[in-house]
């Protein structure tokens, strides 16, 4: 069956199990989910319900035991690692809960790092990094190291790194988990802004109920199953 053109990610009958201490944990159970291009999706549920596993599987970081993941028209569930790396570098931006900036690099270098293994010229890489830093209002901190920044500032740099290559999809796993309420609002507003102005599909995994207000689609999960998606 052909996939409609505006569908960005589609999960079809996706299952994933883990073995932990001899027990089998069903992390994802018959997941069927369609995310359209330009959606702002918030995935919510209690701890251990499988929301992070779903994010991992949708982004090709983890392989489902069965089912298909159609990402921008391509089944990535069985794609080789090099192909997945290329898809991540070209089409996906990641925002991490722990920011994951490299301590020995400045803010600008952290943002540029994504484009180092590409054929772009140094000047082009620098221009893009500056544009991305300007988008997140962090241009004046471009020469600072992560250790000199607050959590909110680090997350803004993380966001700049995630959008430097103009990804089709932005994935954020608890992006505000380590932030105070003010910084949380800043980061979520930025994500919303990127979603609107760059037409980037955004997927946010969070356990915070109030962040659902940013979403065009809220996916609620429990015990590895999607219990609602609307």
């Amino acid at each position: 069956m052909p996939i409609p053109k505006d569908v960005m990610i589609e999960a079809m009958d996706v299952n994933k199990e883990y073995r932990r201490a001899g027990a089998i944990i069903r992390a994802l159970v018959d997941i069927n989910l369609t995310i359209k291009s330009g959606d702002f999706v918030v995935i919510q549920g209690p701890t251990g319900c499988g929301k992070s596993t779903l994010l991992n599987v949708l982004s090709g970081l983890d392989i489902p035991d069965s089912g298909k993941i159609i990402f921008d028209g391509e089944n990535i569930a069985r794609a080789p690692e090099d192909r997945l790396s290329k898809i991540r570098r070209q089409k996906i931006g990641f925002v991490f809960q722990e920011f994951n900036l490299i301590e020995s690099l400045t803010a600008q270098e952290n943002v540029e790092a994504l484009l180092w293994p590409t054929v772009l010229s140094n000047k082009e890489v620098e221009n893009r990094a500056i544009a991305a830093l300007r988008d997140v209002n962090m241009l004046e901190r471009k020469d600072h190291f992560p250790v000199e920044m607050s959590g909110g500032e680090k997350q803004r740099i993380g966001l700049a790194r995630a959008i430097i290559h103009r990804p089709r999809v932005l994935l954020a796993d608890e992006p505000t988990g380590n932030l105070d309420p003010e910084a949380e609002k800043d980061v979520m507003d930025l994500l919303k802004d990127i979603n609107k102005t760059q037409d980037t599909t955004v997927l946010v995994v969070t356990h915070r109920e109030k962040l659902a207000s940013y979403a065009t689609m809220v996916v609620k999960m429990d015990r590895g199953q999607v219990i609602s998606a609307k």
Binding site: L55, L61, E81, K86, F96, L105, E109, R161
Partner: protein, 181 residues
């Protein structure tokens, strides 16, 4: 592309001052002692003791290169996982690690050459000031230092190859976990 990764890897290792200084110092001492023992082993009078020292120095070099590779690879699993998340391949990450290892070894070589030149200059000057003194102008010849450094580079690459599997095994999902999880 690979050249840019190598340049950045050099910048990264230079900013990790403590690790870089310790290992650069170790390589400088090891390259010097190995070169000196190599020169001794070529002299018929000191050949037996020289070749013994040469083997010990080589073993120490292999040990330190494995330790250095392990420190770079294993202690930065989260960094490598993050880079994999944002699209780096195993080959890209290997380029960064190898760049850091090779640069540190080359720095050890250049420091040795610099020290030997300074020694030669200082002794030449001293001999001109005090003509009767009998000190060797050349502490260790340049050829043993160059040969030793090439051997060291090969050993470093071997140490890296032994641990390269660790880079491949780093799963990108580690980047999404909370620190300590």
């Amino acid at each position: 592309m690979a050249l840019r990764l190598w340049k950045k890897s050099v910048k990264m290792i230079l900013r990790e001052k403590r690790t870089f200084t310790i290992f650069c110092g170790m390589y400088t001492v090891l390259i010097f002692s190995t070169s000196a023992s190599l020169e001794m082993s070529l002299n018929p009078v000191t050949a037996s003791i020289g070749s013994g020292f040469f083997m010990i120095s080589l073993l120490l070099s292999l040990f330190s290169s494995i330790l250095y590779s392990w420190l770079i690879v294993a202690r930065k699993r989260r960094t490598w996982a993050t880079l994999k998340c944002i699209g780096y391949t195993n080959a890209n990450i290997s380029s960064i690690v190898l760049g850091q290892i090779i640069f540190t070894t080359l720095m050890g070589f250049f420091i040795n050459v610099e020290l030997l030149f300074h020694w030669a200059a200082a002794i030449t000057y001293y001999k001109m000031a005090v003509p009767d003194v009998n000190i060797n102008t050349t502490l260790v010849g340049l050829s043993p230092v160059i040969v030793t450094s090439i051997v060291f580079l090969i050993v470093q690459i071997l140490g890296f190859l032994l641990l390269r599997g660790k880079i491949t095994k780093v799963r990108p999902m580690i980047a999404l976990k909370r620190i300590g999880e």
